[in-house]
């Protein structure tokens, strides 16, 4: 197994607030790697650091063995890092297929001149872009909505469209920021299947997610963040049994004596 993504002492502070504080993390090529943690644990900031949308205040990110340094997001996208956003960032007034076609921007060349003259190569490229976009829409199950305006699609479909836009270029790594947010049970289960199919297509996935069933079923490895620090790292089974993780999510288990339990507010409400 080779390491696709590695962070070394990665940190990010906003004024006094430490969003990500000194995180070492490795993602194996070909894995679905989960990143979980309570609200405010720094998961989204971590993704932003990798996609280049936020600048780190310290540390290094190695992608495929190369230091990403201060490379801007558009060049990271060209290098094979694609992402989806937590709050749906589609090109809302464009059609679904156009959204996906934009996803191929970094993989195509035609510029102003070629488009004006409509050279043979430009026409060929446009046909290929449309064809690949259709394949990606079909892959996520949205081929039927290809010509619908993105903003008018149902919420679950918009989530899938964002995944298609990230997947169409067959990148090395997709950073998925809460793709299951707002999905119902059936949709979430289909999402697990989709993530597995993306993995089967040779794309490594880094999944930030709150939906714990999705995480447990989709991931090969999971990293838990808490207060910007790495709390645990391991297989889903390891994480499920990790006492620190349960504590971070639920707090420590209070130990009541018999008489105290009767005094808790819940107990008073329960028994009138």
């Amino acid at each position: 197994m080779t390491v696709l993504l590695r962070t070394e002492q990665l940190s990010c502070r906003f004024d006094g607030l430490v969003a990500v504080g000194v995180v070492d993390l490795s993602v194996q090529a070909g894995d679905v790697h989960g990143l979980i943690g309570p609200n405010g644990a720094g998961k989204t900031t971590f993704l932003n650091l990798i996609s280049g949308h936020t600048r780190p205040t310290g540390g290094t990110i190695y992608f495929n063995g190369n230091d990403l340094g201060a490379m801007p997001p558009e060049r990271r996208a060209a290098a094979g890092i694609r992402r989806t956003f937590q709050n749906l960032r589609l090109f809302r007034e464009m059609t679904a297929i156009e959204n996906v076609m934009v996803g191929l921007h970094a993989n195509t060349q035609s510029e102003i001149f070629q488009s004006l003259i409509r050279t043979g190569r430009q026409k060929q490229e446009e046909r290929e872009i449309a064809e690949r976009a259709r394949e990606a829409l079909d892959f996520v199950g949205l081929l039927g909505s290809a010509d619908a305006i993105a903003g008018s699609l149902p919420y679950g479909h918009q989530r899938l469209l964002e995944i298609a836009r990230a997947f169409v270029a067959k990148p090395k790594l997709i950073l998925a920021d809460e793709p299951a947010a707002g999905l119902n049970g059936a949709e979430a289960s289909r999402l697990v299947g989709l993530i597995r199919r993306i993995q089967a297509a040779g794309v490594t996935v880094m999944l930030v997610e709150h939906h714990i069933q999705v995480v447990m079923r989709a991931c090969d490895r999971i990293t838990v963040l808490n207060y910007g620090k790495k709390l645990a790292d391991g297989s889903p089974a390891d994480i499920r049994d990790h006492s620190g993780v349960i504590e971070a999510y639920l707090g420590t288990k209070p130990i009541y004596t018999r008489s105290e339990r009767r005094e808790t507010p819940e107990a008073r409400h329960a028994a009138p």
Binding site: R75, R82, R89, E98, V102, S115, L116, R118
Partner: protein, 325 residues
Amino acid sequence: MKSAAVRVFVLGAFVAVPFIETNSYWLHIFGVALIGAILALGLQLLIGMAGLLSLGQGAFYGIGAYVSAVLTLHFGVPFPIAFFFAGVVAALSSLLLVPIVKLQGSSLAVATLGFNIIIYLVLLNEDWATGGSYGLLNVPLPRIFGYELTTERDMYFFCLFVAALVYLALDRLVNSRFGRALKAISQDEDAARACGISINRYKSKCFLVAAFTAGIAGSLYAHHARYLNPNDFTFTKSIEILIMVVVGGLGSLPGAVIGAIVIVLMPEYLRSAGELRLILFGVLVVVLMGFSRGGIAGLAPMLVQRITQYRLPWQAKVSESREMK
């Protein structure tokens, strides 16, 4: 191809105009309207597609006009070459805006407005080249491959030819990788970057294309009006172009053409109202914008929707009460 048929029909209608209206004054005005259409098309790419609110198009228009006039008048350069250079120089001067393309919304509008004011002052004060406030007189008639465009009808046809070419070019651009990138940027910059689009580079390219378009429109104007004065290229011109685009309909190329024609012709047709004509013009613009945010281009679909979805008062109540349940 339905849209191809529509295009041929519209082009045919434009070609027929000089055979119906032969009065040379009106043909001159129609020529001006077509030049306005070219200007509006260029700005439509900036505002309607890339979401860049620029108030500097009047400056590129002026640069194109003066470059073309000075080259033909003082250096005896043939018109087709001067025409081409007008576009090129205007486009190159747009590179001065590269440092400010990252500005958003109203900041960009004010910065480009400042650029227009600077260009106006250059045109006004560099008398050695531009003739200063006296302007440039007797700009030669365009001569294309030995044929001089002497009549207003000739000039109208030439303007129509250029306008049609610009329309076709921009239509191709809008539906290409370049156009999709611009639309993506206007809708979500972060997502566009995540797709590999270099924002500032594409915005600069967009300014370049729009400036070239305005530059060749300027060249046409110089040889159409045959007299140039810096006052034709103040920021008021930029605002006039903006009105054309917004009245015509943001984001629509046919809208830009319609907007330009309406904005140029309406004051002419209102001439019979005498002193009131500009007030009437202003009122009409306000009413139109209040009625349809999509401009004239958005008017037809809106009316169709109003008519097809029209409900009588009691029908409306039924559907409301259903929603309540």
